[in-house]
Amino acid sequence: MGAKIPRNFRLLEELEKGEKGLGADACSYGLANGDDLLMSDWNGTILGPPHSVHENRIYSLSLHCGENYPDVPPDVTFVSKINLPCVDPRNGKVDPTKLQCLSQWKRDYTMETILSELRRSMASPANKKLPQPPEGSTW
């Protein structure tokens, strides 16, 4: 086992990756508040995957990395309304038991892992034609 990178340095790496735009295609993320020394609150966006009802839509999310991140996953919430089985229709919270990267979280997973998996879920055959709330609506 290699060196165990502490929370804050891991988050700085993720921030730098996000700032340089090296992140996964069609997903981005950054600090909600640029002078938050604790780096707890993050904004994410997912560009709706093509050939789905989400095509050309942009979804905003908020992610909260607690003090035990990345030993435990962040809390993930959709700010934009979306109809997706892993998302609580009352408040936009992503149910960690219904998204594999959250239920089987590993320390080397990142916020990018989560956003990419959500985007794949939006494009999956079971979900890509689900009826959606009006574009741009929020919880």
Partner: protein, 152 residues
């Protein structure tokens, strides 16, 4: 993976012969991760301040430099809002011959000699160049607000 001898030796020496005005203590559950305190140099706007930092020795240390950042808020042209430090020896001028102790001394020296021509915090550097006495005054106020013990 056992801790490399180099890191054990550096840690032992940091504990046995601490550098005046600098403290570095490894976390019990991660011996590559240090809690650091650096005293602001006298005659600088950071005088009387005790600044907390965190330091991490990555897998390939000492081939790559330690990662380090301020946890105490500080007004300085080479340190950004997230405590990241712009210092040549932490980047292109790193050499495996340098150590935790020499890096921390360089950071302490940076507090005594801000360099607004190689800025990381652009707004701070700008102010430093346009109105140095005012910038120094702000640095003093921030030191008092965030880095002096009775206020922490």
């Amino acid at each position: 993976m056992a801790l490399p001898k180099r890191i054990i030796k550096e840690t032992e020496r940091l504990m046995a012969e601490p550098v005046p005005g600098i403290k570095a203590i490894p976390h019990e559950d991660n011996l590559r991760y240090f809690d650091v305190e650096v005293h602001g140099p006298s005659q600088s706007p950071y005088e009387n301040g005790i600044f907390k930092l965190e330091l991490f020795l990555p897998d390939d240390y000492p081939m790559t430099p330690p990662k380090i950042r301020f946890l105490t808020r500080i007004y300085h042209p080479n340190i950004d809002k997230l405590g990241r430090i712009c210092l040549d020896v932490l980047k292109s001028n790193w050499s495996p011959a340098l150590q935790i102790r020499t890096i921390l001394l360089s950071i302490q020296a940076l507090l005594g000699a801000p360099n607004p021509d190689d800025p990381l915090a652009n707004d701070v550097a700008q102010r430093w160049k346009e109105d140095e006495p005012a910038a120094i005054q702000t640095a003093r106020e921030w030191t008092r607000m965030y880095a002096v013990s009775e206020n922490r």
